[in-house]
Subunit: 197 residues, 4 copies
C-alpha cells in the first residue's frame, strides 16, 4: 500500500521531532529530516515552506492536540483539585510518552525575535489561559484562597511542571516523570489553599 499524502506529512513531522530532539533545530540539516522520514530532500518542500515552517507547524499542531487532550481529560472533573491533577498528570504523561517532542518543546520554545515566537505564542497562551481559568474558577468556588495573584499562581503551576520536564529530559535516567504528579499536587494544594482531600 502506498504511503498517502497525509501519512507523508506526518512522517516528515515525526522525523523532524526526532531530528530536532537529537541535535537541536539549528544544528539539524534538512537532509537529516529527509533521511529519517525516508523521503528525498526536495519532498520536504512539497509539504513545508521551509525549514522554519516545519518547526512552526510542529508546535502549533502538536500543542493544539495536546491542549485538546487536556481539555477532554478535564471535562469529567468536578472540583479544582481534580482539574489540576488532570493538567499535571496529562502533561507529565504526555511528555513521558513523547520524549522527543518534549525535548524539542523545552529547547526550541524560546527563540527571540523570530517569526517562530509569534507562532508559538498562540497555543502557549491558550494553555496559560486554561490554567488560569481553573484557578479563577477555584477562587469563585471558594476552593482557592482569593488573595493570590492568578498570573503568578499560573506561573507556579506551569513553571513547576515545565522545570520537572526539563530536568527529566536532561537526566536521561529511566525514572518516571508522571509519578511525580502527587508530589506536585500536594505542593500546589498548599500553595493555593485547596481544602484537604
Amino acid at each position: 500500500m502506498a504511503v498517502s499524502r497525509e501519512d507523508k506529512y506526518e512522517r516528515i513531522l515525526d522525523a523532524a521531532i526526532e531530528a530536532f530532539a537529537e541535535v537541536g533545530y539549528h544544528s539539524c540539516q534538512v537532509s537529516k529530516i529527509a533521511r529519517i522520514a525516508g523521503v528525498a530532500d526536495g519532498t520536504i518542500y512539497l509539504y513545508f515552506k521551509n525549514k522554519e515552517d516545519i518547526l512552526i507547524r510542529l508546535f502549533t499542531e502538536r500543542m493544539g492536540d495536546f491542549i485538546q487532550l487536556i481539555r477532554s481529560k478535564m471535562e469529567s472533573c468536578q472540583d479544582t483539585r481534580s482539574r489540576l491533577r488532570a493538567i499535571v498528570h496529562t502533561h507529565l504523561t504526555h511528555m513521558e510518552n513523547n520524549r522527543a517532542l518534549a525535548t524539542v518543546t523545552q529547547v526550541e520554545l524560546r527563540q527571540p525575535n523570530s517569526s517562530l515566537y509569534s507562532a508559538i505564542a498562540v497555543p502557549l497562551r491558550e494553555y496559560f489561559r486554561l490554567v488560569e481559568e481553573v484557578i479563577e474558577e477555584g477562587i469563585k468556588q471558594n476552593e482557592i484562597i482569593p488573595s493570590l495573584n492568578v498570573r503568578v499562581a499560573r506561573q507556579m503551576v506551569f513553571g513547576t511542571i515545565d522545570r520537572a520536564t526539563t530536568d527529566w529530559i536532561f537526566a536521561r535516567s529511566e525514572r518516571s516523570l508522571s509519578k511525580e504528579t502527587d508530589c506536585m499536587l500536594k505542593l500546589f494544594s498548599g500553595a493555593l489553599g485547596l481544602p484537604k482531600e
Copy 2:
C-alpha cells in the same frame, strides 16, 4: 590609559550578551559581537576559542557571580522564609537589572547534546543544590513539612521564578518583575507549609 586585557575580555562578553539577547545565539554573527565590542573580528579569537566558547564562559562566569551574590544575601538570614525571600528577590532583581543577560539565560540555556550543556550544567546544578539545601535545612528545623519531595519542591521554586522571568522578558512591558516576590513567597509558604509570619 589603554584598554587593559581584562577590560577587553569583559567588553566582548558584554557585547555578546547584548547581541545574543537581541537575535539569539545561532542567528548572531561573530562580527556583530565584534562591532558592538568595538574590536576587530579576529581579536575575539585572542580571547575566546570560538563562538560557543563565548556563550559557555558567559554562562559560567555570570552565573558564578550570580550564585555568589545569592549566597552573600543569604548569610544574614536566620530562617527558611527569609532565605527563600533572599533567593527569590535577588534572582528577580538581578534579572530585572540585567535584562539582556536574562534573555540569553532563558533562551540559550537548553541546547541538547552540545558541549554547551555540560558547561552550563555545573553552575546550574550548584544553584539547584543551594535551593535544595535551604529546603532540607527548613525540614530539619521543622519549618517545612517533612513529607515533601525535596527535588520537586526545588523544581517548584526554581520553575516558578524561571517562568515568571521568561514571561517578563517576552511581555516587553515595563511592569516590574521583582515586585512579584511577595506573591511568590506566599505561594511557596503555603506549598512548603512554612509557619505563619
Copy 3:
C-alpha cells in the same frame, strides 16, 4: 472532440513562447509552461526531449514558417526595391503581430556554446542567405551599386530591422512597428544606391 496530438504540441509551444517572453528562458520553469498550456508537467516530456528542446523547436519551426512567409510575399515582386520592402514589411508586421515570439527571438537568440546556437544557426543563416540573394540579384540587375560588400549590406538590412524590433519590444509603447517600413526603405535605398522610385 478530444485535443489531438498535434494540438497539444502546438499548445505547449505557444505556452512556451508566452512564458519565455514573460520571464526569459532561464528564469522560466517547465511547470509554468505546463500550467499555461493546461497540461501536466510530465506531459511536456512526451512531446519534447527537455527544456532546451522546446526552445530549439520553437525557433526552428516558427522561423521556418516565417521564412516561408517572406519567400511567398516576395514571389510577386519584380524588382529589388519591392523585394526589400517585402522583407522589411513582412518582418516588422510579423513581429508586431507576434510580440511574445518577437521577445523570445530577440532575447534568446544569442546563447554562446550551446546546442541551442547550432540549432538556431540553420534557419537564421537561411534568412541571411535570402537577404544576400536579393542584394546579389540587385547587383546583377544593376539596381544596386556593385562595389559594396554583400555581407555588410545584409548586416545593415538585418541589423536595422532587428534593432528596431528590439527597441519596439523594450519601449512597451503602443507605437506601430510596421509603420517604420518606409523610413527604413528610404535609408536602404540610399545605402544600396537603388534607382529613384
Copy 4:
C-alpha cells in the same frame, strides 16, 4: 607585492567577463569566476552583492568607459562623416580587442523583466543618444538629408554595427572586424545622403 583592493575588484570583473563569455551568464557558476580570478568563492561577495550584481557592474562600468572612449575620439572630428567613422571604427576596434566583453555584451544585453535591464538601459540609452546627436547635428549642418527619421537612422547605425559584431563573434574566424569600417561607412553615407568625400 600584494594585490591591492582595486586590483582584486578588477580581477573578478575580468574573470567574470571571461567566464560569462565562455558559457553564458546563467550557466556560469560563481565558483568558476572565483577560480579564474584566483580568489575564494566567498571573496566575490566582499566586492559584489550577488551574482547579478557582477553582471550589472560589468555593463555599467565597461560601457561607461567605452562611451567615454568614443566621445574622446570624436572630439577632434570636424564633420559628420568623420564623427560617424569615429563611432564605427572605435566600436569595432574595441570589440575586436575585447572579444570576451563583446560576447557578453552581445549575448546578455537583452534580458527581459530583470533588474539587469534597467541597469543596462542607462548606458545603452546614452550611447543611442550620442549617435542621434551626431545625426541631428549633421542635419543641422546640411550634411545629412533632413527628411529622415532620426531614431530609425540611429537604429540603422547601431543595428548594423551590432549585427556585424555578433556575426564576427559567432564566426570565430580570424577575420578582422574593424576592417569593415569603410564598407559600413559607405553604406551609411548613401543612406544618410552625406556629401561625397
